[in-house]
């Protein structure tokens, strides 16, 4: 199904933040914001829910560490116990370092993969930019024209008041 989108293009992060805040005050739906770098305060302005990735990381860390302790115990004390330097078969203290490393490995890899997954990032994906330059020096605020009360012209004026470089309208399928 196609949407009508209104895109305001800005040059500085302050204007962008202002635009976002203004739009939401007026009850417009901010579909997304595009920026060349992580601008602080945007998530508050957009009212995004905090990411759940940390939980994934935590879970995987625990999993990795746990598996490793079990594996070390099983190989050295259960599967084939060998007398090594008179040490007990279950030399738990000696298992700590590897356990830690594997825990970190699981957590880190997990973090990155889940990030790629939730953001739908994958090699050679075609990047869809609302306007050129958002990876260089442009900021874009994308509003959805929800219902008839939405007046593009008026909103455009509002953006221009906030030093928008230009405003344009797109009737399109999915944008990012």
């Amino acid at each position: 199904m196609s949407k009508r989108l209104l895109i305001g293009v800005f040059e500085s992060e302050d204007d962008t933040l202002a635009a976002i805040r203004a739009s939401r005050q007026r009850g417009f739906k901010v579909v997304d914001v595009y920026a060349p770098y992580a601008v602080h305060g945007v998530e508050e302005a957009m009212g995004l829910a905090p990411s759940r990735i940390p939980w994934v990381v935590f879970a995987l860390g625990v999993l990795g560490g746990g598996l490793k302790v079990w594996f070390e115990f099983w190989t050295t004390a259960v599967d084939w116990p060998v007398n090594v330097g008179g040490k007990p078969f279950n030399s738990l203290p000696a298992f700590v370092p590897v356990t830690f490393e594997v825990m970190v490995l699981f957590a880190a890899v997990g973090a990155v993969l889940s990030f790629f997954f939730v953001c739908r990032l994958y090699p050679a994906k075609r990047a869809v930019l609302p306007v050129a330059g958002v990876t260089d020096n442009r900021f874009a605020v994308v509003l959805e024209e929800t219902d008839s009360t939405f007046d593009p012209a008026e909103v455009g004026k509002m953006f221009e008041k906030l030093h928008a470089v230009h405003v344009d309208e797109q009737i399109t399928g999915e944008v990012a």
């Binding site: 116990p81 060998v82 007398n83 090594v84 330097g85 008179g86 040490k87 007990p88 078969f89 030399s91």
Partner: protein, 1017 residues
């Protein structure tokens, strides 16, 4: 066990006649040591065989026997089981008994024969290394005529015809040999020479004791070498006789000497050694005095005079020059000797008639003849006469000799005279050399007859009058060689196999000399089985001791200022050079200097300072006689050597060592093992002197000068003492307690004296590791160890340890699993004391090496062994770094194993390690397993003594104990409980399975009394 062997032997005699084709097949397998070329038919055969095997194994496991392709399967050859044959070592004239370990028809190891009265179970380094000579691919494979291959038939014919001519025109025939202890051979030679009007047998030993025999001829009227009984001697005074190292019969002497120093029986002999250089014997002496060779005689006189005074014997020596030795000490020594009359022993190792006479005189007035010296049952181990040698050389010079046979000697190499002598030898019309390799003499000979290795032929020996031992073949001759007796028998006109010759001689000569057995066959069988038979010794008519000829030696000859007295000595490994072909012995570190692959000019630290030289500086020795070429040798600084003495080892620089040019790994920076002359070391024989009818080893004087050149000596131990360098010594820490020792006095007060105590440390963790079965351990008695290094070779043979060559040793990469650390220390008397510490993997219970191996390549076994898993090892070397004893060895390269023939010596029970893996002492795990399997078969526990490690078996001093620590009654357990026992680096709590017993020196004054008291009281 032994019984069984006889039976086996009997069967095997039958088999022996069937065997040849089998063994031939094996011998032909590598005609020149290289693989034979591959023909189409062979290819087809091979393919067929492979396919067959493929199927066979594919269907079912073939029985093991079938894997051994013996054409005629003999009953007692069980694949994988070894047979032991008693035989006699012919490595030197000592005639030690040995057991040849034969595996699948080939001998792979020589061990001492415990039943043999001469050697009593020990076998020296050279003796054991002889096995390599058997598989030497450069051994002569066929007779040579003028250096070209020939046949026995042709040669026999020619020699016989030539001999006929010589006989016709009364030409002089001479048979030159080293001491021959074999009665049969001697008889054959006698018979052979009897056939000529003008012929006789000249015997000489390159390491001559001629004067010792001559002296007895004068004092006792018969030219004999007494048999020494060190075990009966309480006071031993040796004037430069290296009886524990290289003198006459070191293995036997060591056994006796050790018996005379039994701490548990509180019976400890007191041993004084006067010598110019540090010898193995000197290193064990309780009191050792460095004396210039020129002063020996003077000292003997001093001692003789004092002893004579005390025992009231007439011995006047007016205006006797004062000696360098403190007279108080001499006085005290004389007292000791007198107190021990009949239980003392004076030895003189110098080849000087006057000095020998004096030593005889001392023994005479001390009443030692008949107790500690036996001349009724004399030893026959050194019979050489330098007088006769001198005459022969003269004859050679003026070309009198028409036919010369050389056997078991290499005059062109080991006698002075150099090219002159060579020329004289060339002049001999018929020069025949019996040799195993083309040595210097054989190279001059017209006919070179390949002599069999003593493991290939029948022979016998009578090292001590009345002790006749047999040597039997353990393998079919590998080449077209023939034993001496057979050759001579052929020329005597009655060709017979050596077996018959020996047997007949025994029937005629030996058998009658005993009463026990009435049946010769039975007598022979036992002799062959035991390797030795005791019979009555031939009667000897000695006369009353003749003091007339004993003259005091009134003054010492000291080298003129600036010059050095030159001492030429044999080393434990090379002896007179007969072993120059043997890489094991070249790589065997000298017991004292630890140097390998070279001989060198050894001088005292003071002298070195005076000359301004350090180890490895090449010096030039100029003989006052003006030696033909100047001798240039690297310096080796030797603590404890007399300051005016320079000592050089004999036996080096033989052309037989030219083969070592490419020994060891060849890579970018490799340096070849041979010197610039293309051989190993330098032949010092030209510096010998043959004057006054004796070969003189220490009479020459040399001027020494620096050349400015360097030749780094390849030594396995660079640091000499236990006290670390002064400036690095932490406050309050003296010598390291790696070696622990005490004095006899202290020991008698408290046997625990000198042992550092360390409390048993508690484990933090539960002990998961019980040792249910046996738990192997070892104890080494450092007091008994003489450093003779036979264990090192034993280990090398048993465990297939590669030879790495001079360059690798230089880089401190020797592979010996067992090394003998040697430390010097200085006693308050100022004398240099030596401590030996044989060190191998200590098989620690808490092994640091095991913990750090990432891949579990070194782990602990249930019977307490620290195991190294070669094929799992990836070679991180972490284990070696973490080993406080540095008992581990790393395969830096792929060490050569491409000499197919030589590979026959490899022990099939031990893996040959590949490049990049770690290895180390295994406590001879292959022997342990063999014993365990045998015990299991019998359903018993492994009995004490059933496992003997290679080092333990060969130790002439029986310094090594091995066995089950879990068995409280085992010998090793008892030794572990010995109050003298300590462990090296015990404080680390790695809990080694190897214990050491302290060195107890009988040196302190009070020590003397107590030792005596203990004995008589």
């Amino acid at each position: 066990m032994s019984k069984k062997r006889t039976k086996r032997y009997w069967k095997s005699l039958k088999e022996r006649d069937a065997a040849p084709d089998v063994l031939n097949a094996r011998a032909d397998e590598f005609p020149e040591g290289g693989p034979r070329q591959f023909r189409r038919r062979d290819f087809l055969k091979a393919t067929g065989f492979t396919l067959g095997v493929a199927f066979a194994t594919g269907c079912s496991r073939a029985p093991v026997q079938r894997a051994i392709p013996l054409l005629s399967q003999s009953e007692e050859i069980v694949p994988g089981r070894s047979l032991f044959y008693a035989s006699t070592c012919a490595g030197c004239s000592a005639g030690c008994g040995l057991l040849a370990k034969v595996r699948d028809g080939r001998p792979i190891k020589l061990e001492g024969n415990p039943q043999h009265p001469v050697s009593r179970g020990g076998l020296c380094a050279t003796g054991q290394a002889n096995i390599l000579g058997l598989y030497d691919s450069q051994r002569l494979q066929h007779p040579l005529k003028d250096g070209k291959k020939s046949s026995w038939a042709e040669i026999d014919h020619e020699i016989q015809s030539e001999l006929a001519n010589v006989r016709r025109d009364h030409g002089a025939v001479r048979f030159l040999s080293g001491t021959i202890t074999s009665p049969t051979t001697r008889a054959e030679i006698r018979e052979f020479l009897a056939g000529f009007p003008e012929a006789h047998h000249v015997v000489y030993d390159p390491l001559s004791n001629s004067a010792l025999l001559d002296a007895h001829e004068q004092t006792h009227g018969v030219r004999v070498l007494p048999r020494f009984h060190f075990d009966k001697a309480e006071v031993i005074v040796s004037f430069d006789a290296d009886f524990l190292g290289t003198w006459i019969s070191p293995v036997g002497y060591t056994a006796d000497y050790r018996a005379g120093r039994d701490l548990d029986a509180k019976r400890v002999s007191y041993h004084v050694q006067f010598e110019p250089r540090m010898s193995v014997t000197g290193s064990k002496a309780d009191r050792r005095l460095a004396v210039a060779p020129g002063e020996m005689g003077l000292l003997l006189t001093h001692l003789a005079q004092r002893v004579a005074r005390k025992v009231g014997a007439p011995f006047v020596s007016p205006e006797l020059e004062a000696s360098s030795v403190d007279s108080v000490f001499l006085e005290e020594l004389a007292d000791r000797l007198c107190r021990a009359r009949g239980r003392s022993l004076i030895l003189c190792g110098t080849n000087d008639l006057q000095q020998q006479l004096l030593s005889n005189y001392l023994n005479h007035i001390l009443g030692n003849y008949g107790s500690t010296l036996d001349i009724d049952k004399p030893s026959l181990q050194a019979q050489g006469s330098d007088k006769e040698l001198g005459e022969l050389l003269a004859e050679l010079q003026d070309g009198k000799v028409k036919a010369l046979f050389v056997y078991g000697a290499n005059p062109a190499f080991d006698l002075p005279g150099g090219d002159g002598l060579a020329g004289a030898l060339r002049k001999v019309p018929l020069l025949v050399s019996f040799a195993q390799r083309v040595d210097e003499t054989a190279a001059l000979a017209r006919y070179v007859l390949p002599e069999q290795h003593y493991l290939e032929s029948w022979n016998d020996a009578e090292p001590v009058s009345g002790l006749v031992s047999v040597s039997q073949p353990t393998i079919h001759p590998l080449g077209d060689a023939r034993s001496l007796v057979e050759s001579i028998a052929t020329w005597n006109g009655k060709p017979k196999p050596a077996y018959d010759l020996v047997r007949e001689h025994w029937k005629a000569e030996v058998f009658p000399r005993q009463k026990k057995e009435s049946n010769f066959d039975a007598f022979w069988d036992r002799a062959v089985h035991d390797g030795v038979a005791e019979v009555e010794s031939l009667p000897i008519k000695t006369r009353e001791f003749n003091t007339q000829l004993v003259r005091p030696i009134l003054k010492a000859q000291r080298p003129e200022t600036g010059a050095f007295a030159l001492v030429l000595y044999p080393t434990v490994a090379m002896l007179d050079g007969r072993n120059a072909y043997n890489p094991w012995l070249h790589e065997l570190p000298d017991p004292i200097t630890k140097v390998t692959w070279d001989n060198y000019a050894s001088i005292s630290p003071t002298a070195a300072q005076r000359l301004g030289v350090v180890d490895g500086d090449v010096v030039r020795l100029e003989n006052d006689g003006g030696s033909p070429e100047a001798f240039e040798l690297p310096v080796c600084i030797q603590p404890g050597q007399q300051d005016q003495v320079i000592a050089v080892a004999l036996g080096y620089g033989s052309k037989l060592s030219a083969r070592f040019a490419k020994v060891g790994p060849q890579w970018l920076d490799a340096i070849i093992s041979v010197g610039d002359k293309g051989v190993v070391g330098l032949n010092a024989a030209p510096l010998l002197r043959l004057s006054d009818g004796v070969l003189q080893y220490d009479s020459a004087q040399v001027k020494v000068s620096r050349t400015g050149r360097q030749r780094e000596l390849a030594s396995t131990q660079t640091h000499n003492t236990l006290t670390v360098p002064k400036k690095l010594t932490p406050p309050g820490s003296g010598a390291r307690s790696v070696v622990q020792e005490t004095t006899l006095a202290a020991y008698l007060k408290d046997p625990h004296a000198g042992v550092e105590d360390h409390e048993e440390k508690e484990d933090l963790w539960p002990t998961d590791h019980p040792y249910p079965g046996p738990r192997w351990g070892m104890v080494i008695d450092q007091n008994a160890c003489t450093g003779c290094s036979s264990c090192v070779i034993a280990c090398q043979v048993e465990n297939n340890i590669p030879v790495v060559g001079r360059d690798e040793i230089r880089r401190n990469r020797e592979m010996h699993w067992l090394r003998i650390d040697r430390y010097y220390s200085e006693a308050e008397s100022g004398q240099i004391e030596v401590a030996y510490e044989p060190l191998m993997c200590q098989q620690c219970e808490n092994a640091p090496c095991e913990t750090v191996c990432p891949v579990l390549a070194t782990v602990h076994s249930e019977d307490g062994l620290n195991q190294q898993v070669y094929n799992r090892c990836i070679g991180t070397r972490y284990c070696a770094n973490n080993c406080p004893y540095k008992g581990r060895r790393f395969n830096w390269f792929n060490y050569a194993h491409d000499d197919q023939l030589q590979n026959l010596v490899l022990n099939p029970d031990v893996a040959v390690r590949s490049r990049g893996v770690m290895e180390k002492c295994t406590f001879c795990v292959q022997r342990i397993q063999e014993a365990k399997i045998e015990a299991k078969r019998r359903g018993e526990r492994v009995s004490d003594g059933a496992v003997q490690t290679a080092c333990q078996q060969s130790c002439p001093a029986q310094a090594i104990y091995f066995g089950d620590l879990n068995d409280p009654n085992s010998q090793v357990s008892k030794m572990m409980a010995n109050p003298r026992r300590y462990r090296v680096l015990e404080e680390l709590n790695v809990r080694p399975a190897v214990g050491y017993l302290t060195i107890v020196r009988n040196c302190s004054q009070e020590g003397k009394e107590e030792s005596k008291e203990e004995h008589h009281g």
